[in-house]
Assembly symmetry: D2
Homo-oligomer: 361 residues x 4
């Protein structure tokens, strides 16, 4: 089983938080695609740690080194590989976690699955740090999609109990750019300030908060996706649940839609400038797994960061006795803040794969 997804465009991620390097291989990328490294680095900067009180103080420059598949600023058509060397590691912070697993983290399941040979320093391969290679790969695909008129934007829909506005029925690329220029990435700046406060309050309590990220895709051709198991929802779901801390996903009206009647939840068809559209988008842009031409819209639930400074109850794996755990190390009080570009990146990878696989790229 593998840290890889995709049918014709395969994204294969490797690395441990405190190993020599983390990286990605992209198999199946078309040849001749321009990669703007400055734009890519600007995209990666949105995910990078060490940028203020909302994020971990681990400081990594995260500059990708390309090993293959890129020459003179264009993809060669051969497998692309990029790595990031790990630098700012404090492995000692993780010594006690080897016997005392953090609640709701992968420490215990890794112990059961991999035994003594696991390398869980810094979270090992489960670390949020592994989203950096996803962003390299996804950042390249975002550029490829944009050249084809497809744009992806995400924002923090909520943090703790603070709600941002929802995307409008038809968001624009200009709106995406505006949101991406903010920290945190929100539509409503007042909500953003309240989110910062909620995160700071949790941090001061040695605690963490959860969040919901909303993402929209515009410009996707109607007809993309397939019924049953290779639909847009299936493919996105498989990949998005791979982002650490994601515990829920809904398209369109999602869970709230289950409280509506069909006559309220159904999206009436209309014609606008000769194009068939819907007057609402409770379907989130997909019917029967297939894009209907409206924006694809979904929300992912990010649980509160499992690694918190507050004392917690755990079990010592050697003595099999309950004990109190205080997690050291540097952790984001709200992982979702930096996960906004990760959601965009993974979405770009999934949709590029789907477009290529269905011969529509």
């Amino acid at each position: 089983m593998s840290s890889e997804f995709g049918t014709t465009l395969k994204t294969s991620v490797f690395g441990e938080s405190h190993g020599p390097a983390i990286g990605v291989v992209l198999q199946g990328l078309p040849a001749g695609e321009a990669v703007d490294l400055d734009a890519l680095n600007a995209f990666l900067a949105r995910r990078r740690p060490g940028q203020g009180p909302m994020t971990t103080r681990r400081n990594e420059t995260d500059e990708p080194e390309f090993l293959a598949g890129l020459k003179d600023g264009r993809t060669t058509g051969f497998p692309l590989s990029a790595i990031i060397r790990n630098k700012d590691q404090h492995s000692n912070d993780y010594d006690n976690l080897r016997t005392n697993p953090r609640p709701s983290h992968a420490d215990y399941t890794a112990f059961v699955k991999y035994g003594a040979s696991r390398d869980m320093r810094g979270g090992g391969h489960f670390s949020g740090r592994l989203t950096a290679p996803l962003c390299i790969a996804g950042g390249i695909c975002l550029q490829m999609l944009e050249r084809r008129g497809i744009f992806i934007g995400a924002h923090l829909k909520s943090v703790a109990d603070v709600e941002d506005d929802a995307f409008p029925l038809e968001p624009t690329k200009e709106l995406f750019a505006e949101v991406q220029g903010r920290n945190p990435a929100v539509l409503n700046e007042a909500a953003g300030e309240k989110m910062k406060n909620a995160i700071e309050a949790a941090r001061l309590d040695a605690d963490s908060v959860g969040a919901v990220i909303e993402c929209a895709v515009i410009g996707l051709p109607a007809g993309l996706g397939s019924p049953m198991f290779d639909g847009i929802e299936n493919q996105l779901a498989k990949a998005l649940f791979g982002i650490p801390a994601v515990k829920g996903l809904e398209f369109g009206s999602g869970f709230a839609g289950t409280k509506l009647r069909g006559s309220e939840n159904n999206d009436p068809f209309t014609v606008s400038d000769g194009v068939i559209k819907t007057t609402t988008n409770n379907s989130g842009g997909c019917n029967g797994g297939i894009a209907n031409g409206m924006p694809v819209v979904f929300r992912a639930a990010f649980k509160p960061t499992a690694s918190i400074g507050k004392p917690q109850q755990t079990v010592n794996l050697e003595t099999m006795e309950e004990t109190e755990l205080i997690v050291k190390g540097r952790h984001d009080p709200c992982v979702a803040v930096r996960a906004v570009p990760v959601v965009e990146a993974v979405t770009a990878l999934v949709l590029t794969d789907l477009l290529l696989t269905e011969g529509k790229f």
Copy 2:
């Protein structure tokens, strides 16, 4: 792109609602597994239409015919195939839908994707009827899992605004059996009565209601699943979004967990009879994509049935003019009622595949 999922156990579904037959092929089933056909038919009966006011009046016996892979009540180890002949079809009911697509149904996306050759009578390959072959395949896996001490049970967590109780921290197979004996499948029978009323009210309004199905898996070995993209959540998500009308999925505390602090959402470890457990299960039994030994618990959001009798606004695909649509045909006012065993079946297929793929079956 395909109506198939699975790595070593592949479930391949075929058929159209009004074609000659619907069916399934299971590639990779182990040899020598007993299949109790009476138990399988009892399982299929839970999904069958024509059982009262809550479901469509289309009447199909849905008895599977096995074409391959089963001999003398045991799997041969070769590909298994079973089909169900379609009988009670009223294709004329669907004539006007060819030009006038139903809002929030796949009529329009099928038109865009497949063009004139599509067969959308009765919903074609998108019909809820295609869940019957999923139940045949999943019903066989449920029997295989039960022999290994793994049990799966689902119930209607909510219908419209009526809430059932949640599963307890550690549900038992006896509880599952009890719930499965009820119609609708609920923990709290009073809630079940209210759900019936809500569904009947919608039906009388020529309308429909949505629902949430909660599913739990007990007995799964800790350590099952893999990080990032082949975790339990990823695999279940990919398949569950293939059930018609599913628009959301959450594990453990899911979206509600995003409102909690880490100190509230984390599951403290404890020891019970020498086994490591957690005192809460906000993780839904998975950390880092890997089973932690607690029940795997998730909820799937089913939108209200798109096919409703009420007049709706659509667009005529030939004239490109807005028009009013009145859907004929026979439709469930709440698809989730009959989807409870479908969720169990798909879950069984995914987990059997995962157990086989990881050499743990």
Copy 3:
């Protein structure tokens, strides 16, 4: 593990020789493709048994019944499924094989792998009869390819020590049609007569003979295929070794080319009517796994039929003692005679999948 292959077009085969039916599911077929059933049946007739002394006397009409995916003579875009009912079975002929496995047949490996539950009557799922569903699926793809100017033809390159001519440097579709009109399928009719005699001689000896089938593909676009593991050679090899009795495969000059020097084996480039070609085709139309525009040419080695009437030494699986086996049942003295269309069918399936996957269909 599965009786299925393909990336975007998946061919899934099921059935046992003496079970209720054999069949195929094709996932990923485009919509709107015309299927000429008369032409398909004519293609299937080339593989059908009971056609004279060269083939088994088992008599099956092998008329496919389409269950899904085809309507009004066109593919719907949904999964296509077709089955053939088994009729003329003599299961008693196989009673002694359950304990006394036939040398070089799958009886023994099936016993080890599947144990008591296996159904090996008539060869079970290993039977050459399973090539009928492959021909249904491949026959449909052959029609689709022909409409795009891609033609596939095969012939018996040798039977026992009788050699047919080789295909010319650039065979034509007219040549393919001519060869396909002959029984056996050969270029040189005199060689065909000698082959018949060799086969008849073996049959009279209650023995069998091997053969080599050569296949050529014309009209394939240069640039199809990918380096390393998804090249034309890799994909064809994976599928062709699935045809019962295939034990070898070579492209272009193949094994004979290993006796040549590079200066003799290399194909010099030339220009013909503005198109780059090669003056020889020792590469078999592929360089680095990618089509170069010349015909793709390969040869598959078919071992002599394992089931022969002559007494053979085997081991009784119950007593674990050596014993003499006399195989009853009806068997082709040369399986390759009827395998010619099977090679064409499998080649069509592989190349259609490759064209679809690379967005070149």
Copy 4:
């Protein structure tokens, strides 16, 4: 489409001959497997260039750098990645090949497929150099298999018209070790001397020779592999045709077996020390795609090196005129000499994947 193969153990290769690095990612490796780096480097040394007149003079130390998945000499269970930096590159030697493609090399097909962005210096991603990462990955699997009693050995069965002896009916690991200690790897040292002479003669003529490599696997459990498309032959074939210059593959008696009668080619069963064996191995250890307990034996045909110093006819891609090409650069006059460990490595990767996938590792 991708430079990757495998179902549960995925081998993903990347890199260009004159790019920054070549490397491999192994997804799905079990945790806790010891990796003896000295033994691995000794294995890699058998493939390394610059070792005498039989091989290219390009000198690379080829020491792997592990980036992930290995800690304290054991696999962590996370994806493993290793790279080799490219050093001794003479890119100028390849300038003229950009417009003047080498006959029977991938220069022309890469031009058609990838266009101007391709990086074909040194053969790009098609270079034999890419077999180094395959040997890192396969070398690790060879160690894992040996601990389970499974051994793989290959030798040069023929070079030009010089024939080595064939493996005996049941080769031993001691025999494998003996052969692997020779250069070239042969059973019969006199044949090895003649091979050296044939290679040297070709080199002096600025020409090249082809060869056949025979490989045997002992200790594989009977019952491994699956019918039709996931058999041992299918899986090995898909991967082995990925080794540059392989143009043919045969199992057991292969093409020669097509000249035999069934009574000669069938392998009679016998009992030896309570174990069922066969007195001959014309099946190459597989029946119906499934291991029968005898050694798996196959032969791969390696064409003569396409890059030769002799003048050859090509076409200038800009002027579309025929022209004479003289290939510079440093090339093996017989690529198969160094491909012996590559065949062993790829075989180890395929069989480890198959054992893992079928739950038999």
